[in-house]
């Protein structure tokens, strides 16, 4: 069995198609750059130019040093799997299940995480601590979702 989102045959690397219609994230003042970055194929987050702390979700100031000079930085997209669950319940009529929800920890900073889907990986190969890399699912002209797939080709 494959996870719910799979790579489109012949598509450029990183492109995936969804098997269920996804609610859209709103573009809000401190998160718009994140979603637009994803749409451009980059994992961008705010970083404090004073102390280097990466802030996600975005805020107006750095919670560590309280500096207000924050700038988008592009992350490597490397992560490991902190936890996961296979969702079996359809949360709205017609939603395809099962699919894998992963909680991934990004390589750049301890505790910096994303809730995401693990894709392009058979269910039986999914394991906590497995190394992952980002891939993007395009939703519209403004937004793409960062999903994660195994680093090693399976």
């Amino acid at each position: 069995m494959r996870a719910c989102v799979r790579r489109t045959a012949g598509a450029r690397a990183g492109a995936v198609v969804s098997l269920f219609p996804r609610p859209l994230p709103a573009l809000e003042p401190y998160t718009e750059a994140f979603w637009r970055g994803c749409r451009a194929g980059r994992l961008d987050m705010l970083r404090c130019t004073q102390c280097g702390w990466i802030i996600h979700p975005g805020r107006p100031i750095c919670p560590r040093c309280h500096g207000n000079q924050l700038a988008a930085t592009t992350l490597s997209g490397r992560a490991h799997l902190h936890s996961f669950t296979v969702n079996h319940k359809a949360w709205f009529p017609g939603q395809a299940v099962p699919y894998v929800i992963g909680l991934v920890e990004l390589a750049e900073q301890t505790g910096l995480r994303l809730t995401t889907n693990i894709v392009n990986c058979p269910l039986e190969r999914i394991a906590i601590d497995m190394p992952l890399r980002v891939t993007f699912e395009i939703l519209n002209d403004d937004v793409a979702l960062p999903l994660f797939e195994p680093v090693e080709d399976l």
Binding site: L24, A26, T31, H82, T85, H88, K89, W91, I101
Partner: protein, 391 residues
Amino acid sequence: MSDKPERHAILSGVGQSAIGRRLFRTDLDLTCEAALAAIADAGLRPDDIDGIACYPGPIAAPSGFAGPGIYDVQESLGVDLRWHLSGAEGPAQISPIIHAALAVAGGLCRHALVYRTVTEATAAADTGRLGIGVGSHEIRGFGAFMIPFGAMSAANWLALYARRHMHEFGTTRRHLGLIATTARRHAKYNPKAIYREPMTMDDYLAARMISDPFCLYDCDAPADGSTAVIVSRADAARDLPHAAVRFEAFGTALRARPSWDQWGDITTMAARDAAQQMWSRTDLRPSDVDSAQLYDGFSFLTLAWIEALGFCGKGESGPFVDHGRIDLGGALPLNTWGGQLSGGRLHGFGFVAEAMRQLRGDCGERQVKDCEVVAVGVGGGPVAGCMLLTR
């Protein structure tokens, strides 16, 4: 701590409406029934009520979740108020109880009605249970980072916590099942419980998966029902028709990132911080607790609360709940009304009602012998509030 505010307030009355799966009654109707029952239980008349509080008040939420706001209840009861409050942010669903005690202790009011009402079963009658955000065009706030990924329920968010706990400590589905099957055994003795028929461990393990490791019986049962309590000044205790229930200590702390997925150690919850603060406000210790009423919106939450409150060491809650320790007659009778898993998702207040009834000796066949101290812990993930109650 000799003059702590907890000492200046008591729980003087408790009442519940009809509780059921699809009552097709309004939330305000259920709330009035519970409120009048609680007021009478405290030996009071509606005119004595001079404070009202509830969780969460009017917020954007799925149908059946929020219940009526305090102004509709004030209008229905026809009372004048000296203090009132509602809110969704705070130390979990018992936040308005804690704040009512502070208001009473501070002299703002004398008898506060505090309630929580849900009609989630009736709301889902036509559609089944839908995910959070379904039908929304755009998702705002923290949900923007979860719901588009199909993490559309707290079942998904907390399954991630449970799986990590299993990974680090060897906790098993059978341990989760002990929470569910024990609660079901207790619900047999609660006439108002939603599910009272026996459930074996095999039944539990064979149930359909929702979001693994959570199966259907790891998730609480949506219900219709209202629970109301009366928080009164401590000097009202002498006029009560029954024993007063006393506040020994509150726990309201929140020390890590207030986020479901950025919470630092997801084998713990905000329960850890609330519980630590609660114990810092009392000379009583975990070994003094006669019964625990611990939130079980999902079975795993109860395990996390058991660890948070120090009934066992970190990571040891799975083995701890085995061998009858949490049964009636065990060392720590747990969720003796059936919890939300079997008693119904009354969203926090069912635990408070049961704690009061156990301390007053009103529980009949499910009564814990010589029950003098009860721990109540409510909430999951980054949301937690707790209270130690005594008689």
